[in-house]
């Protein structure tokens, strides 16, 4: 438990996973701090989350308008100064649109929204996620219309070389292949990192209790909060 850890959660118009994310952070014993998208500077914080949803109705492109919202200048600056930033689903799309993460998230090749439970494998150990070992399998929900992760030509090898691939869609045994790829993401990529900035399509804030289907999301968020894998929830 670390009641002093304050986690900013940015709410854009149309964000809709904000309450779930706030509840998850609170349940893990950290202090959620609501950040309005109109802010031009950030208060003193230990972490920032861009939650999921349909910011600005996904109009133009998912995340494209939110990436230009006033608060994003402050987020970008704070990220450059080392503040850990986590984007979940629409938050991931916003970080890609802003250029804080490599790649882009395209519409699912099926043309359809997809909501289901999904297993993902931790592809690379990350200093941002203490205690989350490489090869760990997490069961998390996905829910998106634009989750097909793509990179520019020649970029993919670099991502792997630099250990920037964080999560990959896999089967329950950890094998990543075409049949375990729900959305046509290149190399089954479900999450990427760029130094202290991380984005992922699955929703850890929805996997906080066994009765909801999994509590692996609690493990993932606890590790990002530096509370290790065994945080009391």
């Amino acid at each position: 438990m670390n009641n002093d850890l304050s986690v900013g959660i940015v709410i854009f118009p149309g964000s809709n996973c904000d309450n779930d994310t706030i509840a998850a952070i609170f349940a893990l014993g950290a202090k959620p701090v609501v950040l309005d998208y109109r802010l031009r500077s950030l208060p003193v914080l230990d972490r920032v989350i861009l939650p999921g949803g349909f910011s600005y109705g996904d109009y133009l492109r998912s995340g494209a308008l939110a990436a230009a919202a006033p608060i994003m200048d402050a987020v970008e600056k704070a990220a450059a100064n080392g503040l850990p930033v986590l984007g979940i689903c629409n938050g991931f799309q916003i970080l890609c649109e802003r250029g804080l993460l490599p790649g882009a998230l395209l519409p699912n090749p099926s043309g359809k929204f997809i909501c289901q439970w999904q297993t993902v494998r931790v592809a690379n150990e990350s200093p941002l996620f203490t205690g989350l070992h490489q090869g760990r399998i997490l069961r998390l929900p996905i829910a998106h219309h634009e989750g097909s992760y793509r990179t520019a030509q020649g970029q993919l090898a670099d991502l792997f070389d630099r250990g920037q691939v964080f999560l990959q869609y896999s089967d329950p045994e950890g094998q990543s292949h075409g049949l375990t790829n729900p959305n046509g993401s290149v190399a089954n990529i479900a999450g990427v990192q760029n130094r202290n900035v991380v984005g992922l399509m699955p929703h850890p804030e929805r996997a906080m209790a066994t009765y909801l289907g999994s509590r692996d999301g609690a493990d993932l968020l606890a590790s990002w909060l530096g509370m290790g894998e065994n945080a009391v929830c």
Binding site: P13, G14, N16, C17, N19, D20, A23, A24, G53, F54, Y56, G57, D58, Y59, K112, F113, I114, C115, Q116, P141, A143, H145, H203, E205, R206, M208, A209, Y211, L212, G213
Partner: protein
């Protein structure tokens, strides 16, 4: 010069208006009457029928008449819930028609001051070439709105028949929660308050949607009706929802009314009538998103994502602060005064003034025709013995009404909000509310085929089906909502079928003592003289005893006993999927409601203490019969490693495993508790029959005289991809 036909009124209604007013209405006034006296807004053909439904119950906070019914879940929470239809628009423009249907019912819930926490969709489609495209568009529309606004779609019902070829049904149930004791509605407006219209700018979309699209049969000109369908904007809907909930949560508004069918006309008139006040509305103040809109167009526009607030003057500044925070467009469009009229002005010019007692309160209602119920000639029930055939198992599971629904529900976000314990992969939804107990159980049922030849029996069956689903979780039903869908009420047969359907619903609701707290009637689901089956979409909300640990709907291990609770003494295939496969059109059977009532009570009593009697799982039998219930229980296990060995009495046959007589259940029971279940008939007055056991071999084996075997993988294939279709 606008005539009564132009606004969808009959000559006699026109005369009635002149008589009640003592003068001819002007064109704008005639337009207002056309909207409010339409079938869609006035329920003129069904209101007297609906009055027969039981509305009172120990958990009822708000019965019919408001934007949604409200029941009490716990000491802290009330549940607002209602079904709405968007059938006609969804045929004309599937994506936007369905999307705005979701938006509309969500605004009804919000207008009750409740935060929406779940939606469920009840869909019926045809079987022609156009049907898959319609299904795709409707599902996309429901998802586009629900996913974006962030309300999980937790359960649903999907059915198919040629009768829906030109009249698909799109009914949506929305459920919301609000603090117990919060009073919000359209009936609290007080003189002196200010009317504020918030949300989307008013445009020319949806004009005459209520009166000319939803209140008429379809014909050759339907294609031209597309401009009467509104366009949804879930982003604006989200802002509107949050702002409205913030305003009502703080008690800043004395009345709230959403703008749905007939837009500003119905919202102002109904708010005035419900609150017994006068309203003065200045249409020149309404924010329009198109140039030069006439007062007529402004009053009748069905632009989505708008809400009308009545705000006492002292709260005005606080309300405007909330609206500014959400960057929501708003305008002060009028004021509340003492009186009983609706006055429309443009600047200092009075354009219309009508007493709301006439405009809302005096629409002539069709009297109830009291007669014995009718049914189609149909064939007599299948009484003769029918030996089981293995292909029927595949055909039933592969029938469009039984088939796996994941391709639909995976397009809906079912988990957002983190309350969904059981979502659409189960037969019922289980939701976690606040701090654990109690939770909420939500089920829908729309067994339309049961009402095809005898809508009274079908109406009863629909209620029993919905109640059976929540009973399988041991949940206590708090209230029902009914979506009635039928043909042209001006014609004898469609009217009588609708009347019988409603009577059936009322009968069952009365016997089981579960009130109907609101609903929706959609008529004129008819094209070129062909009406749909009278179709009841029943939604039920129930108090779940233990939402963190729902009782399973599948057996845990091999060796578990399989029991049938309340199997019918005389199983009858009437109305079943198998009967359709066999080309029969038998009436749905008469159910033993007393026996069902005993079983419902038994489950509610026993499931919270299931462990003490070795009850390991329970599933209601519905469409597809007991065979489908057992097979589904086995197929939902991953991996599919279990099977069932059913040993039936020598004279049991296809009727026993494929009948769809609602109010029976499959139970999975620990054999160590066999003695309790052997005597449960004496101790609890319910009928329980031991029908077999769970095996470690993934196949269904039924022995009744001879033995038949269905490998589970083959059943799964039929369930996933459709069965042998050549016999249909």
């Amino acid at each position: 010069m606008l005539t009564h036909q132009d606004v969808g009124l009959s000559a006699s209604e026109d005369q009635e208006i002149v008589q009640l007013l003592g003068r001819r209405p002007n064109e704008l006034e005639l337009g207002l009457f056309g909207a409010l006296w339409s079938e869609h807004c006035s329920y003129k053909s069904s209101k007297n029928l609906l009055a027969q439904l039981p509305h009172q119950g120990q958990f009822v906070v708000q019965g019919p008449g408001g934007n949604a019914g409200v029941v009490q879940l716990s000491a802290d929470w009330d549940i607002a819930f209602k079904i709405e239809s968007h059938n006609h628009p969804s045929f004309v423009e599937p994506l936007q028609g369905a999307a705005t249907g979701v938006g509309g019912i969500l605004r009804d819930i919000v207008a009750m001051g409740a935060r929406p926490i779940a939606i469920a969709d009840i869909l019926k489609f045809g079987v022609n070439e156009q049907a898959p495209a319609l299904l795709h568009g409707v599902v996309e529309g429901i998802g586009a709105y629900g996913n974006a606004i962030g309300i999980p779609n937790v359960t649903g019902s999907l059915g198919f028949s040629a009768v829906y070829d030109a009249n698909p049904l799109v009914n949506v149930l929305a459920v919301g929660m609000r603090r117990h004791g919060l009073q919000v509605g359209a009936d609290g407006a007080r003189p002196g308050s200010v009317l504020i219209l918030i949300g989307q700018g008013t445009g020319r979309d949806g004009i005459h949607g209520a009166s000319l699209l939803a209140s008429r049969d379809f014909g050759a000109e339907t294609e031209e009706m597309r401009p009467t369908v509104q366009v949804g904007d879930p982003f604006m809907g989200k802002l509107l929802m949050e702002a409205t909930l913030a305003v009502v949560g703080k008690g800043f508004a004395d009345a709230v009314q959403d703008l749905g069918a007939a837009g500003l006309t119905s919202s102002t008139a109904e708010l005035a009538y419900a609150s017994s006040v006068g309203l003065i509305v200045d249409v020149s103040k309404v924010i329009c998103r198109e140039q030069n809109m006439s007062p007529y167009e402004i009053m009748l526009s069905e632009t989505q994502e708008r809400m009308l607030l009545s705000v006492p003057k002292q709260n005005l500044a606080s309300v405007l602060e909330v609206l500014a925070w959400y960057e929501l467009p708003y305008a002060e469009i009028g004021r509340v005064v003492a009186g009983d009229f609706l006055r429309i002005e443009a600047g200092d010019q009075v354009l219309a003034e009508l007493p709301t007692s006439v405009l809302v309160g005096s629409c002539p209602r069709l009297p109830v025709m009291h007669d014995v119920r009718i049914w189609d000639a149909g064939q007599p029930s299948v009484l003769e013995k029918i030996g089981l055939q293995s292909r029927w198992g595949y055909q039933v599971l592969g029938h469009p009404d039984c088939r796996n629904r994941s391709s639909v529900y995976q397009r809906y976000d079912s988990m957002i909000g983190t309350r969904t314990v059981w979502g659409p992969e189960h037969d019922v939804a289980v939701m976690h509310i606040g701090n654990g107990k109690p939770g909420l159980c939500i089920a829908v049922a729309a067994p339309a085929r049961w009402a095809a030849y005898d809508s009274y029996a079908g109406g009863i069956g629909a209620v029993v089906a919905a109640l059976s689903l929540v009973a399988a979780q041991g949940a206590v039903p708090l209230g029902l909502t009914d979506g009635i869908n039928a043909g042209n009420p001006a014609k004898f047969e469609p009217y009588r079928k609708m009347a019988d359907l409603i009577r059936g619903i009322g009968k069952a609701a009365e016997i089981f003592e579960v009130p109907v707290t609101g609903g929706n009637v959609s008529l004129h689901n008819e094209t070129e003289g062909q009406a749909i089956w009278p179709t009841a979409a029943i939604g039920v909300v129930a108090r779940h005893p233990n939402p963190e640990h729902p009782i399973a709907d599948a057996p845990p291990d091999a060796g578990v006993r399989i029991l049938a609770l309340n199997p019918p003494a005389n199983p009858d295939l009437g109305g079943s999927v198998l009967a359709e496969i066999l080309g029969r059109s038998d009436r749905y059977p008469v159910l033993d409601l007393r026996a069902i009532q005993h079983s419902l009570r038994f489950l509610v009593e026993i499931i919270p203490q299931a462990e003490t009697v070795g009850l390991l799982g329970c599933r209601a039998v519905g469409i597809g019969g007991l065979f489908f219930a057992v097979a589904k229980s086995l197929m939902t296990k991953t991996p599919m490693a279990l099977g069932a060995n059913l040993v039936l009495a020598g004279d049991a046959d296809a009727r026993f495993v494929f009948n769809e007589m609602a109010g029976q259940w499959v139970l999975f029971v620990d054999p160590e508790f066999q003695s309790f279940w052997d005597h449960v008939s004496e101790t609890h007055g319910v009928s329980v029959v031991d029908i077999g056991w769970v095996t470690g071999s993934p196949e269904v084996v039924i022995t009744a005289g001879r033995s038949l075997t269905w490998p589970l993988i083959d059943l799964w294939r039929a369930y996933r991809k459709g069965g042998v279709r050549d016999v249909r």
